[in-house]
C-alpha cells in the first residue's frame, strides 16, 4: 500500500476539496471519504491536513461554512462552495489540465531525438 501513497501538492488539495464540495455541502469527514473513494485510495493524506485547508479556503471566500446536524444527529461543520469558489474550481481545473497535458507531452517525447 505504501508504494501507492503519494503526497499531495498543496494546490492539488485545494483543487480536490473544491471538487469534493461541488457536489453539494459536506463536512470535513465526508470530504476525506470522498477524496479516498474518488482517487481509489491512491492519494492518501493525513486526514487532519484537510482542515487547515478547508479553513484557508473559507478565509479566501471560496467556501462558506456553518454548523448543522449530521445524519446521525451530531453537531458537524458543513462546508459548501461559494460562487467565487465555483469559479475558482474551473480556473484550477483548467490550470491542472494544462499542467498535466504539458507533463504528459514531455514524457511522450523521446529525449534522444
Amino acid at each position: 500500500m505504501t508504494e501507492h501513497q503519494m503526497n499531495l501538492i498543496r494546490g492539488t488539495v485545494d483543487l480536490l476539496i473544491l471538487k469534493a464540495l461541488s457536489g453539494g455541502e459536506r463536512h470535513g469527514y465526508a470530504v476525506s471519504e470522498w477524496l479516498r473513494d474518488a482517487t481509489g485510495g491512491t492519494l492518501l493524506v493525513e486526514e487532519g491536513t484537510l482542515y487547515p485547508a478547508l479553513h484557508r479556503l473559507e478565509a479566501k471566500g471560496w467556501v462558506a461554512a456553518d454548523w448543522g446536524l449530521s445524519e446521525n444527529n451530531r453537531r458537524a461543520k458543513y462546508y459548501r462552495l461559494t460562487k467565487a469558489g465555483a469559479e475558482r474550481l474551473e480556473e484550477e481545473r483548467a490550470l491542472w489540465d494544462r499542467y498535466a497535458t504539458a507533463v504528459e507531452q514531455a514524457l511522450a517525447e523521446d529525449p534522444a531525438g
Binding site: Y29, E47, G48, H55, A59, G68, S70, E71, R75
Partner: protein, 894 residues
C-alpha cells in the same frame, strides 16, 4: 445563509452560539472530534476493535495540535478580512449617506464647500509660492553644497554683505579646504551692435570653473568654458542663455561658432546653456563671458567688484566653511593690513542668501492663510452644529433603533470629511488660478518665482490640510451630537437641552473667530500703515514726471576722458533742448536701483587714517542738469555750474550725512577732500552740501555720498534723466533720436520712469500688505457671517422665551437690545483675546514694519472698532427679527 442546496435533506440548522476565543477553541475541538469519532465508528463497522479503531483514527488524522494551529491561523485571517469588509461597507455606506444628505441640502453644501474652498484654495496657492521660493531645492546638482561668500566690513562701519576684490577671492579660493570650488562673477551689460537696432544685453563675466565646477551645469549645446578661455589674452568667447538663443536666433544650432560684436569686440559663441538654467545671480542673463584674472589684482585688493559663489567640499558644512573663512580673513588682514584690516568673510547657503529678503513676508503670508483656514473651519463647525441641532431628532431615532454611538459618530465625521473633500477639490481649482495670479502679482525680481507651481508636492500639502480641516471642524460637532443625551432629546423633540449647550459651544467658536480675525486685521493694518509710511517718505527728490534710461560708452569708440566728455557735453545739451523737457542731465547711477560701490575719502589737513579706518563715501558723477531734473535741494553752498569745467578748479558736493560724518561741527564748504588715491592727491574743493536722498532703498537711511561734475571726471556709463512737462515716456523717442544722431551704435536701454522705480522699490511691501489685507478682509467676512449665524440661531432657539417676555410686557426695543448686547459681549471677549494674540504674534511682523510699532494704538483701536461695528450690524438683523416676534405665535409654537 442563502443558497442551501444538496445538504438540506441531510442537515438541520442550529443557531451559532460560539463567539470569541473560547468559542473558537470549542468549535475547533468539535470539528476535530466529530471527524475522529466518525472515522473510529467506520473502522469499528469494518471489524476493528473499539480501542484500536480510535487509535487508528488518530493515526490517520495526524498531529491534532498541528492541525488546530493551522485552522486557528486561517481563522484569524478570515476574521481580519471580515472586519475589514464590515468597516469598508460601513464607510461606504456613510459616504453614500453623506452625499445624499448634501444633495438634500444643496444650499448648506454650497456654503460649506465655498467657505472651505476659499480657505484651502488660498492655503494651497500661498504654499505653492512659499514652497517654490523657500523650500524647493535649487535646480543644480547637490544644491545644498552651494554657498555664497560675502566680505564683512562691519568692523569698519560698513555693510556685512560687501563684494570681493579679485585678490581676496583668489586667496580664499586657493586656500580654503572646506570649499571644493569657488568662482567669482561681475555684472556685464554689453551693447550688441550686429543687429540693425543695437541691443543692450544683460550678462555676467565669470571666472574659471563657475559653470563647470561650482554650478556644475553643462551646456545644452556646444561646450562649456574651459581654462584656456580664461587665459589672459584669450579671444572673446561666450555662452548664451537658452532664452537669448531662442529670442535672438530662433534656436538655430548653427549659432555655435558664430561671432557677436559686443562693445565693439568680437565674441565667439561656444555653447548654449540648457533651458531652465537660471544661475543664482542674474537669473535672466542673456550671456556669460569668461574673464581672466586682472593683471594688477594685488593693487586692487581693497576693492569690491566681484561676487563669489562656491561649492562646499564633500561633508563640509556652512558653519565649518564660515569658521575657516574667519581664520583666512584674519590671516589676510595680517598679511595685507592696508586693504584687509577690519574685513572678514561670511558664508551663507545659496538658497538662504537668495531668499533672505523674501522669507519674512512669505512666512507671514503662510501664517495668515493658516488663520483664514482656521476661521473657515470654525464657520463650518458652527454651521454643522446648528444643522446637528436640527437633526437631533433624526439621530435620536436612529440611536433608539439600535445604531451604535460610534456608528453615529463615524457617520457624522464622514459627512465632515466628505465636505472637506469637496472643499479641497474646489480649493485646488481655485489654487491653480490663484497661484498664477500670485506669480503675476509678485514684485519683479522676486527670487525663484519661476520655481512656483502647483504640483504633487503642493497637492500633498493640500490633501493633508484638507484632512486636517475636516477633522478640525468635524470632530467637535460629531462628538457633541453622538454624546448628547438622546433620550431627553427624543422626548423633547430636540429643542431645549441640546440647543442651549450648542449655543454655548458656538459662542466659544465665535469668540475664537473674532480673535483670529483680530490678529489678521491688526497684522494687515500694521502692514498697510507701513506701506503708507514708505510711500509718504520724503525721498529727497521728486520722482513725478521723471524718466531715466541707460547708456554705455564702449572704450573702442570712446578711448579717453576727452572723447567721453565731448560726448556727454553734447548729449547734455541736446537732451535739455528736447521739446517738452523741463530739465535734463546725466548721472552715473539712479537712486533706488543699485550700487556702484564706495570709494575712500581723505580730508585735507588731517593725518592719514589707519588702514581700515578710512571713511567710505558713495561716489556719483552728474551733470548740472541732473540736480534740476530730480529737484534735489541744497543745504549749504552751491551746486556745480558751467563754470566747473574740465580746466577749472576741481569741485565736489557732499551730502548732509557725509558733511556731518567727515566734518563734525565744522562747515565743510571751502574745505578740500581727496577721493580714493592717497598717493596721487587730487584735491577737490567742497562747494556745497546737498540734502540727503533715499538712495539705497526707502527703508534705508542715508550714507556718505558725494557728487562730482561729469565734466571733471569722465565715466563711460551714464543714465540720462529727464523731467518732462507732460507724460515722461513721450520724450523717450526724442532721446533715442538725439543719441542716434550723436552715435548710431549706442543703445538706449532700461527706460523707466522714476515713479516706476519708486513703486518697484516698495513692491515687496505692497505685495505682502495687499495680500494680508485681502486675507484679513476674507476673515472678517467669515467671522461676521459666523456671528450672524450664531445670533440668528440663538434668536430662533429662544423664540419661546422672547415671546414669553413680550407677553409679560417687555418692549420690542429691549428685546433687540438684549440680543445685540449678548453678541457684543462675545465680540468684546473675542477682541480682548485677539488683542493678546496679536501682540504675541506681532514679532513676526517686526522686520516688515516701517514707521509703526507692532503695538501701534491707532491700528489696534481702529481694528477693534471695525470688528465691533461689523458685529453690531451682524447682530442687528436677527435682533430686529426677534423684536418682531408675535408672542401668540411664539408661545403656540412649542
Amino acid at each position: 445563509m442563502s443558497g442551501e442546496g444538496a445538504g438540506r435533506n441531510r442537515k438541520r440548522r442550529v443557531p451559532r452560539i460560539s463567539q470569541g476565543d473560547s468559542g473558537l477553541e470549542a468549535e475547533l475541538d468539535d470539528e476535530v472530534r466529530f471527524h475522529l469519532e466518525r472515522r473510529a465508528e467506520a473502522l469499528v463497522r469494518q471489524g476493528w476493535d473499539r480501542e484500536a479503531a480510535e487509535a487508528e483514527a488518530r493515526r490517520r488524522f495526524g498531529n491534532v495540535d498541528d492541525v488546530k494551529r493551522g485552522m486557528r491561523k486561517m481563522r484569524k485571517r478570515k476574521e481580519r478580512k471580515v472586519a475589514l469588509g464590515v468597516w469598508r461597507d460601513s464607510v461606504w455606506q456613510d459616504v453614500r449617506y453623506a452625499f445624499r444628505m448634501l444633495r438634500e441640502h444643496p444650499l448648506f453644501a454650497a456654503v460649506v464647500t465655498l467657505t472651505l474652498a476659499l480657505g484651502i484654495g488660498v492655503n494651497t496657492a500661498i504654499f505653492s509660492v512659499v514652497d517654490g521660493i523657500l523650500f524647493r531645492p535649487l535646480p543644480f546638482p547637490e544644491p545644498e553644497e552651494l554657498v555664497v561668500l560675502w566680505s564683512d566690513v562691519t568692523e569698519r562701519g560698513g555693510p556685512d554683505d560687501e563684494w570681493f576684490s579679485y585678490a581676496n577671492f583668489r586667496d580664499l579660493r586657493d586656500q580654503a579646504a572646506t570649499l571644493d570650488a569657488a568662482a567669482a562673477w561681475g555684472g556685464w551689460g554689453p551693447s550688441w551692435t550686429d543687429p540693425q537696432e543695437p541691443q543692450q544685453l544683460l550678462g555676467a563675466q565669470v571666472t574659471e570653473g563657475m559653470m563647470s565646477e561650482v554650478l556644475d551645469v553643462a551646456p545644452g549645446l556646444g561646450r562649456t568654458l574651459l581654462a584656456e578661455d580664461h587665459a589672459p589674452g584669450a579671444p572673446g568667447r561666450i555662452l548664451l542663455s537658452h532664452g537669448f538663443w531662442d529670442r535672438a536666433f530662433g534656436r538655430d544650432p548653427s549659432v555655435l561658432g558664430s561671432v557677436l560684436t559686443l562693445m565693439d569686440r568680437p565674441y565667439e559663441v561656444v555653447g548654449v546653456m540648457p533651458e531652465g538654467f537660471r544661475p543664482p545671480f542674474l537669473p535672466n542673463a542673456d550671456l556669460w563671458a569668461p574673464v581672466s584674472p586682472p593683471e594688477n589684482a594685488e593693487q586692487g585688493r581693497g576693492g569690491f567688484s566681484w561676487r563669489v559663489v562656491a561649492r562646499l567640499a564633500e561633508g563640509a558644512t556652512v558653519d565649518q566653511a564660515g569658521a575657516e573663512m574667519g581664520e583666512l580673513g584674519a590671516r589676510l588682514a595680517e598679511a595685507y593690513p592696508d586693504s584687509n584690516t577690519g574685513m572678514s568673510f561670511r558664508v551663507v547657503a545659496l538658497r538662504d542668501d537668495m531668499v533672505s529678503d523674501t522669507r519674512a513676508g512669505l512666512l507671514v503670508l503662510l501664517g495668515a492663510v493658516g488663520l483664514v483656514l482656521l476661521v473657515a473651519c470654525v464657520n463650518v463647525a458652527n454651521l454643522l452644529l446648528s444643522r446637528a441641532s436640527g437633526r437631533i431628532q433624526e439621530i435620536a431615532v436612529r440611536s433608539a433603533l439600535g445604531a451604535a454611538r460610534n456608528r453615529i459618530f463615524g457617520q457624522l465625521l464622514t459627512e465632515s470629511l466628505v465636505l472637506a473633500f469637496l472643499g479641497g477639490v474646489a480649493g485646488i481649482a481655485l489654487a491653480f488660478w490663484a497661484t498664477d495670479a500670485l506669480v503675476a502679482l509678485a514684485p519683479d525680481g522676486t527670487p525663484r518665482i519661476d520655481a512656483v507651481r502647483v504640483d504633487g508636492r503642493v497637492l500633498l500639502f493640500t490633501a493633508a490640510t484638507t484632512s486636517l480641516a475636516g477633522l478640525l471642524f468635524g470632530l467637535m460637532p460629531a462628538l457633541r451630537v453622538s454624546r448628547a443625551d438622546l433620550h431627553v432629546d427624543l422626548r423633547e423633540g430636540g429643542r431645549s437641552g441640546m440647543a442651549a449647550g450648542g449655543v454655548r459651544l458656538r459662542s466659544a467658536l465665535v469668540v475664537a473667530q473674532v480673535a483670529l480675525a483680530m490678529v489678521l486685521l491688526v497684522g494687515a493694518g500694521l502692514l498697510v500703515r507701513s506701506f503708507q509710511n514708505l510711500r509718504a517718505t520724503d525721498l529727497g527728490f521728486d520722482p513725478a514726471g521723471v524718466v531715466t534710461m541707460q547708456l554705455n560708452l564702449p572704450p573702442s569708440r570712446y578711448p579717453d576722458a576727452e572723447t567721453l566728455r565731448t560726448f556727454t557735453d553734447a548729449l547734455d545739451e541736446r537732451l535739455a533742448a528736447i521739446p517738452g523737457v523741463e530739465a535734463a542731465g546725466l548721472t552715473s547711477t539712479v537712486p533706488l536701483t543699485g550700487f556702484d560701490g564706495d570709494v575712500t575719502i581723505l580730508v585735507e589737513g588731517r593725518p592719514l587714517p589707519e588702514p581700515g579706518d578710512e571713511d567710505a563715501v558713495w561716489f556719483r558723477r552728474i551733470t548740472p542738469g541732473y540736480v534740476e531734473a530730480m529737484r534735489m535741494s541744497l543745504a549749504d553752498g552751491r551746486w556745480f555750474g558751467s563754470a566747473d569745467g574740465p580746466g577749472d578748479p576741481l569741485v565736489v558736493v557732499l551730502n548732509e550725512t557725509a558733511a556731518a560724518n567727515l566734518f563734525p561741527g565744522e562747515n565743510p564748504v571751502g574745505r578740500r577732500v581727496n577721493v580714493n588715491d592717497p598717493m596721487n592727491p587730487v584735491w577737490r574743493e567742497v562747494v556745497g552740501v546737498a540734502r540727503d536722498i533715499r538712495n539705497f532703498g526707502i527703508r534705508e537711511g542715508s550714507r556718505n555720498a558725494m557728487y562730482v561734475p561729469a565734466a571733471q571726471s569722465a565715466g563711460r556709463s551714464y543714465f540720462p534723466v529727464l523731467r518732462a512737462s507732460g507724460d515722461p515716456s513721450a520724450v523717450v523717442s526724442a532721446v533715442r533720436a538725439e543719441v542716434r544722431a550723436l552715435d548710431p551704435s549706442l543703445v538706449v536701454a532700461q527706460v523707466r520712469t522714476m515713479e516706476d522705480i519708486v513703486t518697484a522699490a516698495v513692491a515687496p511691501e505692497r505685495f505682502v500688505a495687499f495680500l494680508l489685507g485681502l486675507f484679513a478682509t476674507v476673515t472678517l467676512v467669515l467671522a461676521v457671517v459666523g456671528l450672524y449665524g450664531v445670533v440668528a440661531f440663538d434668536v430662533g432657539a429662544r423664540v419661546r422665551e422672547v415671546g414669553l417676555r413680550m407677553a409679560l410686557g417687555a418692549e420690542a426695543s429691549r428685546i433687540s437690545t438684549m440680543v445685540v448686547t449678548r453678541s457684543l459681549t462675545l465680540v468684546g471677549i473675542g477682541v480682548a483675546v485677539g488683542l493678546v494674540l496679536a501682540l504675541a504674534a506681532g514679532g513676526a511682523l517686526d522686520s516688515l514694519l516701517f514707521g509703526v510699532g507692532r503695538t501701534d494704538p491707532l491700528t489696534l483701536a481702529a481694528v477693534a472698532c471695525l470688528l465691533v461695528l461689523s458685529a453690531t450690524v451682524a447682530a442687528a438683523i436677527p435682533a430686529v427679527r426677534a423684536a418682531r416676534v408675535d408672542p401668540a405665535i411664539a408661545l403656540r409654537s412649542d
